[in-house]
């Protein structure tokens, strides 16, 4: 047997080794930027050097043929350099304005929508889902593809009041993170436990400790040590499922989809915000999830029509108030919208400020 190779523990490489020389030359010397058209950024350096960035959407889960097609474009237009964004869009940078239009034509011609800049709907932050995750309630790739098919023109244009960041998550751990709109699995029934397997598969004290509402306790079933769930306490979050797969939380009917709105990371204008629950109980309706698309589009339409320039989704709702939000989107307001978790009173209206 040949000896195993020891890893070179090098960490991340220097980004400058993978950057166009013109970017290295102007590193830290950019003066200003503008956006000549949707999908294009134009940066100008102190010395007058200019770079145009053309941004396009991808499917994130890329086959080697797609990556090579993107490389061919980068070789032809960008001297063999390319960059990706946090949200899996691809950025091609050119240093000659004349290359911008042919590059856009080439990208659109090969099926990569050009956009995602400024006040547009960006690509949806994307988790793994049925394709690769071990605990998914749905398939991120399919949900994202279905939504982006409907929102492609909002990606291509800058017609929104401010940028819209949509996220998806295939369970309540919420790997997709905060979003102006978040499309997340919401389980509605406690886990179904295979008592024959728990003792062999699960480290029971760790599973008990994982539960946020202390609903799990040790039990004996048919003489075997196992775990049981106090179903009155259980909030169906699924936290016990990853450390204990015999506590199956995913269910083809009872794992529903919920929509949350108004989350934001940036400290721009308002402080960062968490997204807030607005709709739940939507079916996990593969392969196109039409019910989810309908709610997302109705929220986006109300925001686009009613928000003032530069208001993010959450800022718009804070101005117009929740009664008006539910009225404009025609979504029902239920007891499930009223927070019951720790700190919940800070989400109640402690004032005489009322909207009519």
């Amino acid at each position: 047997m040949t000896e195993l190779r020891r890893p070179d523990e090098t960490g991340v490489p220097d980004a400058k080794n993978y950057m166009h020389p013109a970017l290295v030359k102007n590193y830290g010397k950019w003066a200003w930027h503008d956006r000549p058209r949707p999908g294009v950024l134009h940066h100008v350096a102190d010395n007058g050097d200019q770079v145009w960035t053309v941004k396009a959407g991808t499917q994130r889960q890329m086959d080697v043929f797609t990556i090579r097609a993107l490389c061919d474009i980068a070789d032809e237009f960008c001297d063999g350099y390319v960059r990706f964004t946090m949200r899996s869009s691809v950025e091609f940078m050119v240093f000659d304005e004349k290359r911008v239009e042919p590059l856009i034509k080439r990208l659109e011609g090969e099926g990569y929508p050009v956009g995602g800049t400024g006040n547009s709907v960006g690509f949806i932050s994307h988790t793994q889902g049925w394709l690769h995750c071990d605990i998914p309630g749905t398939d991120a790739s399919g949900v994202v593809k279905s939504l982006m098919d409907e929102l492609a023109d909002e990606f291509r244009n800058e017609d929104m009041p401010n940028r819209v960041k949509i996220t998806t998550s295939c369970c309540q751990i919420n790997c997709g993170g905060q979003g102006d709109i978040a499309v997340n699995i919401q389980h509605t029934k406690p886990p179904i436990i295979n008592h024959d397997l728990v003792a062999g598969v699960c480290e029971r004290p760790a599973v008990i400790a994982r539960c946020p509402v202390a609903a799990i306790r040790p039990a004996l079933v048919n003489g075997k040590p196992t775990l049981e769930v106090d179903e009155k306490k259980c909030v169906c979050c699924g936290a016990c499922y990853p450390p204990c797969p015999p506590m199956q939380i995913n269910d083809p009917v009872n794992s529903k989809i919920a929509i949350w709105v108004g989350g934001k990371h940036s400290s721009t204008r308002s402080k960062p915000m968490f997204h807030k629950l607005v709709a739940a109980g939507l079916p996990n309706n593969a392969p196109r999830w039409p019910e989810v698309g309908a709610v997302v589009k109705s929220i986006l339409a109300a925001y686009k029509k009613d928000a003032r320039p530069w208001e993010r989704m959450g800022e718009w709702i804070e101005r117009i108030g929740w009664p008006r939000f539910f009225e404009l989107t025609n979504l029902p307001f239920t007891k499930y919208h009223v927070d019951t978790w720790r700190g919940s009173r800070s989400n109640l209206n402690a004032s005489a400020h009322l909207h009519f």
Partner: protein, 416 residues
């Protein structure tokens, strides 16, 4: 021998439409002539269609790794391998990209070659933490694939209860608003923590992220245990001629609506001559007016970072924002960068020693209190760390005089 393509009537519906289709990509791989992965991907398509039919996932974890490391490979074994045997092992190798996700095509093409030889041909650019995710590898192919990637100068990403792969915004490479070298600090910090990335032994995961300004393009604030955001201390840079042009472009009313009224701390006013009046003492460096007037306004010149700690999502106690633990630090010299790396080590060491099993940084800080955390990592208290002082009297204050003495001492030494 070439396997038959599975029937995938549900997935087929995801081939149409204007957005690039991942299903088309999977099928391109499944039908690639003479490629070793074609049968794997036919099998994978079969299992994925089965998930779409039954609305359930069929992967389970396990233990797969490479020699010398304890993390970075995400094992996936199929629970329905009897029906979809060629994709019964479909592991992911996480590789850390260059900070800022910059590539030359030679590198990407080499990755494609390696993944055609040893994997499935399916690569996600990128995962939510910022990894290149090489998806779909048999157990026996993990080590040879990894050896070749490592020989290219790339290293494995994090997984499990360790330091995770990091992410930075585009930074000074192509943004005039970036208040520090995000790509450098990303590299400096992560490359000093490779042991904690590759041999996870922390209470739970630990994430660093880097954004050059309050716009937070790397989504650090609510995702990173330690979020580093750029800011500045002196006055914002204003080009009044460009302000006048912007006022002319938008009109006075819209300039006031879109710039002045949107300022969260009411630090702006439009002068009678269409120049901008900035109250820099009230400005909170939120970036809004700079985002709207990209030619006229810029961050100041006395730039540096602020650090927020404890951001995370739901599990276990609910969502937490990162909160300020360091309001400002200049970041110019090699020593400045080294001091931040040193602070990151103090934060990680304190977390490793004090967090409970499966407790994130933010949960630990909430449990022990910010003041104890600050003492543990040797950071000074600052009023920028609170939205408002406490609003209840349930606190024992018999150490008051001593705390006042410390505050006065700090003020005096800062004034020197």
């Amino acid at each position: 021998m070439s396997k038959k393509m599975p029937e995938t009537p549900l997935l087929d519906q995801l081939e149409s439409g204007p957005w690039p289709s991942f299903v088309k990509g999977l099928k391109r791989l499944a039908t690639a002539e003479g490629k070793p992965y074609a049968n794997i991907m036919k099998s994978l398509l079969g299992q994925l269609e089965h998930s779409y039919e039954t609305r359930k996932g069929y992967w389970k974890g396990g233990t797969v790794g490479v020699f010398g490391y304890g993390a970075g490979v995400i094992p996936r074994f199929s629970e329905v391998a009897d029906k979809y045997s060629e994709s019964s092992e479909f592991h992911t190798i996480r590789i850390m990209p260059p900070p800022g996700f910059f590539y030359d095509t030679k590198t990407l093409r080499r990755f494609c070659e390696i993944w055609e030889e040893h994997g499935s041909g399916l690569i996600a650019l990128h995962g939510q933490s910022g990894d290149i995710m090489f998806q779909g590898c048999r157990t026996d192919q993990v080590q040879p694939a990894w050896d070749k990637m490592n020989e290219m100068g790339f290293d494995m990403g994090g997984a499990g209860a360790g330091v995770r792969t990091s992410a930075a915004c585009v930074g000074p490479a192509r943004c005039e608003q970036s208040c520090f070298d995000t790509l450098r600090l990303h590299k400096d910090i992560i490359n000093d923590f490779t042991d904690d990335i590759h041999r996870p032994s922390l209470p739970y995961k630990m994430k660093f992220k880097f954004s050059g300004c309050a716009n937070d393009c790397s989504n650090a604030t609510q995702r990173a245990d330690m979020a580093v955001l750029g800011t500045w201390r002196d006055d914002m840079q204003v080009n009044q001629d460009e302000v006048k042009k912007k006022v002319a472009e938008l009109g006075r009313k819209e300039f006031i609506n879109q710039v002045v009224r949107m300022c969260p701390s009411q630090a702006l006013a439009l002068n009678d001559d269409d120049t901008l009046d900035v109250d820099n003492k009230s400005c909170v460096r939120c970036m809004h007016c700079i985002n709207v007037c990209t030619k006229a306004l810029k961050p100041g010149k006395d730039r540096g970072i602020c650090i927020l700690a404890g951001g995370k999502r739901t599990l276990k106690i609910g969502d937490l924002f990162g909160t300020v633990i360091l309001p400002f630090k200049k970041l110019e010299t090699d020593e400045d960068y080294a001091e931040v790396v040193d602070l990151a080590h103090r934060v990680l060491d304190f977390f490793a020693e004090n967090a409970l099993e499966h407790e994130r940084m933010g949960e630990m800080i909430e449990r022990i209190g910010l003041v104890n955390f600050l003492e543990g990592v040797e950071l000074d208290l600052d009023p920028n760390m609170v939205t408002r002082p406490r609003t209840n009297p349930y606190v024992r204050t018999d150490g008051w005089d001593e705390e006042v003495r410390k505050w006065n001492e700090r003020k005096a030494s800062a004034a020197e």
